[in-house]
């Protein structure tokens, strides 16, 4: 039962390692987008501190969006997707493995890099902790929802823009609770409610996302 799960996970991690330039590009994009904001809004430290959570979350969201096409694109193009769909084991399992590998190679580096960027915006230590935690809970939702969008737009002309149109509205709640958690912590009201809601969302996405994604992949491979 777990054989395809492990096989897909190991292969995708190996592929990410072989093509690590792609992973680094995503990380670089995240850093650069975050660093652009001070040029746009001015370097006033108080203002920067106030908008830092929002900036980092939007940057993480855009970085995720731009790398989503990697999730199934190559497998769709070279026929691996067909093979996987013909596996006797349940489709959701290996879909989940692919999303997990994607999260580990794309989102986890963002979570790790976020505190460093937070320091550029003069965030205090507790805020950095909450930021990390909110990203760690929120980015899985982005990966799971994004996977559905990526599967739906496989092989379409202008798929990238279409993908953005499809998934960005769905990302809004994650952005609200993720950035809100940090702000709530900084304003002293405590971030636990936000973080709980994010965990709930992550669980919900974990239960429903792979099914929708598997269905969308079947449609795409037809």
């Amino acid at each position: 039962m777990l054989k395809p799960f492990v096989a897909v996970l190991a292969r995708d991690l190996l592929l990410a390692w072989r093509g690590r330039a792609d992973v680094l590009v995503t990380l670089g994009f995240f850093v650069i987008v975050a660093c652009l904001f001070p040029f746009g809004v001015g370097a006033e430290p108080n203002q920067l501190r106030a908008i830092a959570p929002g900036i980092l979350w939007v940057a993480a969201l855009l970085a995720t969006l731009l790398s989503l096409h990697r999730l199934f694109g190559q497998d769709f193009a070279d026929g691996t997707l067909e093979h996987l769909l013909l596996s006797p084991e349940p489709t959701v399992l290996w879909v989940l493995a692919k999303i997990l590998a994607y999260w580990l190679t794309t989102s986890l580096p963002l979570v790790v890099a976020a505190p460093g960027l937070g320091m550029l915006f003069d965030m205090e230590q507790g805020g950095l902790m909450v930021l990390c935690l909110s990203l760690a809970l929120g980015t899985p939702i982005l990966s799971l929802l994004g996977a559905v969008g990526a599967a739906l737009t496989l092989g379409l002309r202008g798929g990238g823009m279409l993908l953005a149109l499809l998934v960005l509205p769905l990302f809004v709640p994650v952005l609200i609770f993720g950035a809100g958690a940090v702000e709530a912590h900084l304003s002293g009201t405590g971030a636990s409610a936000h973080l709980l809601l994010l965990s709930g969302g992550a669980l919900g996405a974990l239960v429903l996302g792979p099914w929708a994604c598997a269905a969308a992949l079947r449609v795409a491979a037809e």
């Binding site: 026929g79 093979h83 596996s87 006797p88």
Partner: protein, 208 residues
């Protein structure tokens, strides 16, 4: 055994064929004929369950495959147009992944043996992007030597891009599979000499 009942296929808004009845018993080999675009690949993909039939049913051992998907896919080996190779992986890595993703066990030795059998021992650790078309095709075909437990082989143009020796070798492999009681369903534009009596299904005659 594999059966179809009045299968119909719609691609885009073109009805490619309809009323297709086919049965494939152990030890049989069927070659699907027809000009380009008549729906040979669509038929194979439909038999595998990748495409839902517009009408009709595919049955495996008397049960509709929609209901017993897992059993059917455990018995099926499908090699499509593209070899399903990732350019960044070596042949042996690709092969092991393909077998394990299909839910089978793939020891390193058996994979090596399969690659050696198909004549790719020297390339086993090169990344697939440096392989030629014929070599890529062979990596895909190496799965045949690891799929003895799967009775139904569905092969889309397996002889493409192979040299003469490899063609003959593949024909022997397919014959051996049928001799063990396996079933082979294939498309090809070449006339190959098989030891197994070959049945033909002319899709061109069924076209709408």
């Amino acid at each position: 055994m594999l059966e179809t009942r009045s299968l119909a296929c719609l691609r885009g808004d073109r009805l490619l064929f309809r009323g297709l009845d086919l049965s494939l018993r152990p030890g049989e080999m069927v070659r699907i004929l027809g000009p380009n675009g008549v729906g040979k690949t669509s038929l194979l993909r439909m038999l595998c369950g990748l495409v839902a039939p517009e009408a009709g049913e595919v049955l495996w051992r008397g049960t509709p495959v929609r209901r017993e998907r897992e059993d059917f896919h455990r018995a099926l080996l499908y090699l499509g147009h593209s070899a399903a190779l990732n350019d960044l992986l070596s042949p042996v890595e690709n092969l092991r992944f393909a077998v394990r993703a299909g839910g089978d066990e793939a020891g390193k030795e058996s994979c090596d043996a399969a690659l050696e059998r198909i004549g790719l021992a020297a390339q086993r650790d090169l990344p697939c992007r440096v392989l030629s078309q014929g070599q890529r095709r062979r990596v895909g075909l190496a799965r045949l030597f690891l799929a003895a437990g799967r009775p139904l082989w569905v092969l889309d143009e397996p002889f493409n891009a192979l040299d003469v020796g490899a063609v003959a070798d593949l024909a022997v492999t397919l014959d051996a599979h049928c001799a063990r009681g396996g079933m082979v369903l294939l498309t090809t534009h070449q006339d190959i000499a098989f030891a197994t009596p070959l049945r033909h299904l002319d899709l061109g005659a069924l076209a709408c």
